[in-house]
Symmetry: C2
Subunit: 421 residues, 2 copies
C-alpha cells in the first residue's frame, strides 16, 4: 500500500445462522466481557430460513467505520461493536490479494476503516435472536477479511463480547457455550458437540407470536435477575451443571425423550427465574401458554414426547419435533388451534420449509378449516379458536455454521464504492 491515495475496495461476505438455546443462558458474571454464570447448549438453525448475511469492506478511501443494518445506517459507537472491532483488528495479519494486487500489513490494518452491511433473511424485531446471528457474522466476516488466523473457538470468544449467545452461532449443529473460569474470558468459548448431520431427523417449527407488550431487553432483564432473584444462583450452580451433562448425553444418543424433557424443563425454569426477578419479567403470554398446553397434552397422550418447546426472551415458541412425520402432525395441531386471520394468505402464514405443510396435507385455507381436532382433545374441543394470536410459522431444521460467500453478486456492498448496493 503506497502513500498515494488508492481507490481499491477489498470485501468479504459471510452468512451466519441464528441459534436457539435448549439449556438457557441467563445471567452474566461479568457485564463488560459478557461472561455467563452457567454453560448453555443450543441448536443452530438452518441458515436457509434464518440467517444474517454480512459484507465487510476495507478501503483507504473510507474515512470512518460505518455500518448499515437492513439498509439503514446505524451507529458503531456502542461498546459491543467497539469490542468486536478492536479484538478482530488486533488479530489481523499480513494479507496479499493477488487478484487486485493489494498488500496490507498487520500494522496497516489498524489504520484502515471498515464498512459493514448486514441483512437478516427474517423479520427483525420479531424476537428471533437476530443479535446472535448478527454479531457472529460480523466477527466471522471481519476475521476472513483481515486474515485472522485464530481458530473458531477464539472467534467465538470475540463474538461473545458482542452478544453472549452469538458465540454459539460460530458452529452448526449442536453447540455448547462453556462458561469458562478465567477472569479475562479467554476460556469462555463455544464448542461444537455434534454437527448438523448427527441428528437430522429433527424438524423445527417456530411460532411467531403477536405481542402488544413492550418486552424487557435480555441485557437489562438478566442483570435484574442476577441482582434480585433468590433462585438464579441455585439454578446456575446446582441445576444447570447436571442438565448440561444430561443434555450432552441425550444429543449423543439421539434420545429424544430426554432431549425434550430437558429442553422444556429448562425453558420453563428460565422463565421461572424471570418471574422471580424484581420487578418480575414476563416474556411468555397467554398464547405462549396455550402452545405449551397443546404440546403437553399431546406428549402426555402419546406416552412419550413428540415435540419439545422452548421460549427465549419473548413470546415466540420454538418447537422441535422428533421427525418429519411428527412435524406434520404438529403443524396440523398448530393450524387447528391458531388458524390465520381471514385476510392472511396461507403461503405467507407458513414460511421456510413448506414441504412440511405438504406432508400435513394442507394446501389452502379450505384444508385448514377442515382440520379435525387432535385426538387428545376430542372430547373437549375449545369453543374458541385463537385466530390472529400467531403472526406466522417458520418451518426449519438444525443447520450448518458460518460460510463465506464467494459469489460477489451476494455481496451487500458495491465493490467499486464500498457503499450499500
Amino acid at each position: 500500500m503506497a502513500g498515494e491515495m488508492q481507490k481499491w475496495v477489498l470485501m468479504a461476505t459471510a452468512q451466519t445462522p441464528t441459534n436457539i438455546a435448549v439449556i438457557k443462558y441467563w445471567g452474566k458474571r461479568n457485564e463488560d466481557l459478557i461472561l455467563a454464570i452457567n454453560d448453555s447448549i443450543s441448536v443452530t438453525l438452518d441458515p436457509a430460513h434464518l440467517c444474517t448475511t454480512t459484507t465487510v469492506a476495507v478501503s483507504p478511501t473510507f474515512d470512518q467505520d460505518r455500518m448499515w443494518l437492513n439498509g439503514k445506517e446505524i451507529s458503531l459507537l456502542g461498546g459491543r461493536y467497539q469490542n468486536c472491532l478492536r479484538e478482530i483488528r488486533s488479530r489481523a495479519t499480513d494479507l496479499e490479494d493477488e487478484k487486485q494486487g493489494i498488500k496490507i500489513t498487520k500494522k496497516e490494518w489498524e489504520k484502515l476503516h471498515v464498512h459493514i452491511a448486514s441483512h437478516n433473511n427474517f423479520p427483525t424485531a420479531a424476537g428471533l435472536a437476530s443479535s446472535a446471528a448478527g454479531f457472529a457474522c460480523l466477527v466471522y466476516s471481519l476475521a476472513k477479511l483481515m486474515n485472522v488466523k485464530e481458530d473458531q473457538g477464539a472467534l467465538s470468544a470475540i463474538a461473545r463480547q458482542g452478544s453472549g449467545s452469538a458465540c454459539r452461532s460460530l458452529y452448526g449443529g449442536f453447540v455448547k457455550w462453556v462458561m469458562g473460569k478465567e477472569e479475562n474470558g479467554s476460556d469462555s468459548i463455544a464448542v461444537q458437540l455434534a454437527d448438523e448431520k448427527h441428528w437430522d431427523d429433527l424438524v423445527i417449527v417456530i411460532a411467531v407470536v403477536s405481542s402488544r407488550q413492550k418486552e424487557t431487553s435480555s441485557t437489562s432483564g438478566m442483570r435484574d435477575t442476577v441482582e434480585t432473584s433468590m433462585l438464579i444462583q441455585h439454578r446456575a450452580k446446582e441445576v444447570v451443571p447436571k442438565r448440561i451433562i444430561q443434555m450432552e448425553d441425550a444429543i449423543k444418543k439421539h434420545d429424544f425423550a430426554a432431549f425434550a424433557d430437558l429442553t422444556c424443563a429448562d425453558s420453563n425454569q428460565f422463565h421461572a427465574v424471570c418471574l422471580d426477578t424484581y420487578p418480575p419479567i414476563f416474556y411468555m403470554n397467554d398464547t405462549s401458554h396455550k402452545i405449551i398446553s397443546c404440546v403437553e397434552k399431546w406428549n402426555r397422550s402419546a406416552g412419550t414426547p413428540q415435540v419439545a418447546y422452548t421460549f427465549d426472551a419473548g413470546p415466540n415458541a420454538v418447537l422441535i419435533a422428533r421427525n418429519r412425520k411428527t412435524a406434520a402432525e404438529l403443524l396440523q395441531r398448530l393450524l387447528f388451534h391458531f388458524p390465520p386471520n381471514s385476510d392472511t394468505d396461507l403461503n405467507s402464514y407458513v414460511i421456510g420449509d413448506k414441504s412440511i405443510l405438504q406432508d400435513a396435507g394442507v394446501q389452502d385455507m379450505k384444508d385448514v378449516k377442515a382440520l379435525p381436532p387432535p385426538p387428545e382433545i376430542k372430547d373437549k374441543v375449545p369453543s374458541q379458536k385463537c385466530k390472529g394470536d400467531v403472526s406466522y410459522f417458520i418451518c426449519t431444521r438444525p443447520g450448518r455454521g458460518p460460510v463465506l460467500l464467494s459469489d460477489e453478486s451476494q455481496a451487500l456492498l458495491n465493490p467499486a464504492t464500498g457503499l450499500p448496493k
Copy 2:
C-alpha cells in the same frame, strides 16, 4: 338423652373469614395430614365482604351426616371432611343445653349424626379461597356445637386437615401457620401475629379476573411442584425462613415498604416455582401481568411502594394499599385501565366497601370515562383499554376471626327439622 326417640335439634352457627397469604404456602411434606414444607403468613379479610357462614346441627332424628354447600347437597365422604369430623367428634365433651333441656355425653356424640349447611357471601369458584373459610367454619362451628374445649391453635390443626390454608382463618388480623416439626402434625398450627386493629390503615382491593382456562387445582399443583421442581426445596428451606422473619418484623413495625416488597416478591416466587413444575402450571394470565405492571410502574414512580400485589392459585389480583387515600388512587388506576363492559352496572362492578369508590370520586360510568391517565404513564397512554378483562372488584380490609352468631335468624338450617331453610 333417653332411649326413646326424641325430636330435638341442637344447632350452632358461625361466621369465618377467608385469608390471603402474603408469604405463600406451596408444597406438603405429608399429604394426608396436610403438613407444609414451609411456614406461611396471611392477612385475614373482613368477613363483611368475604366469609363463610356455617350452621351445624345435631339431632337423634338424623340418620346420616349430610352437608349442603350454597344450598346444594354435597358428599361428605371425602377424606378431608372425614378427617375434620372425626377429629372434632373425638374431642367432644359432655354438654347440657338448659334451654332445650338436652344432655349429651362425650360418648353419645360419637353416635349422633350432623347436618351442615354452609354459604359463602361471595361467588364460589371465583378462586377466592372459599375452601379456607369453609373448612375453618366447619371446624369452628362443630367445635362450638360439641363443646370442644381445645384452644384455637388445636382447632386450627384440625381445620388444616381439611384445607391447609384453612388453619389461618381461625384468627383475625395477621396470622402465621407454623409448619411444625412433629410427624403427627400436632405442632403444625396457626398463631396470631397481630389482630386486625394493629394495622388498620391497610385497604384491600381484589380484582376478580375473567378466565377461560381451566385451572390446575392447588392440591395436585403443589404435589406436582414438590415432585418435579428443582427450585421448590431451595425456596422452602433457604428463602422462605428468612422472609418469614422479615415479614413478621414488617408487620410489627407497620413498615409498608418492607411488607409490600416481601409480599410481591413472594407471590412472584410462588408463581415461579409453579412455572418450574413439570408440566408447568400457569395461574396468572395476561390480565394478571397487566395489573402487576400497572402497580410496579406506580410504585417505581412514587419512589416507595404504594400498593402490594399477591396472586393465589388463579389469575385474581389481591392488592393491598397502604391507606385509604392510596386505595382510592388505586381504584382510579384500575378503573382507568380496566373499565367495565358497557352493559355492566358500576354498582355491581365495584362491590364490598363502596366508600372507597366515593373517595375515588367515581359515582357513575361518566366518571369512569373521565378518569385521566395516571401521571406515571402520561406520555405512553395505552391505545387499548382492557374492557371486560376484569369481572369485578371487591373493596375490603383486614378483618376479624371466626365468631359465633347467636341470632337464630341467621342460621342456615331450620331449627325444627335440621334441614336447609
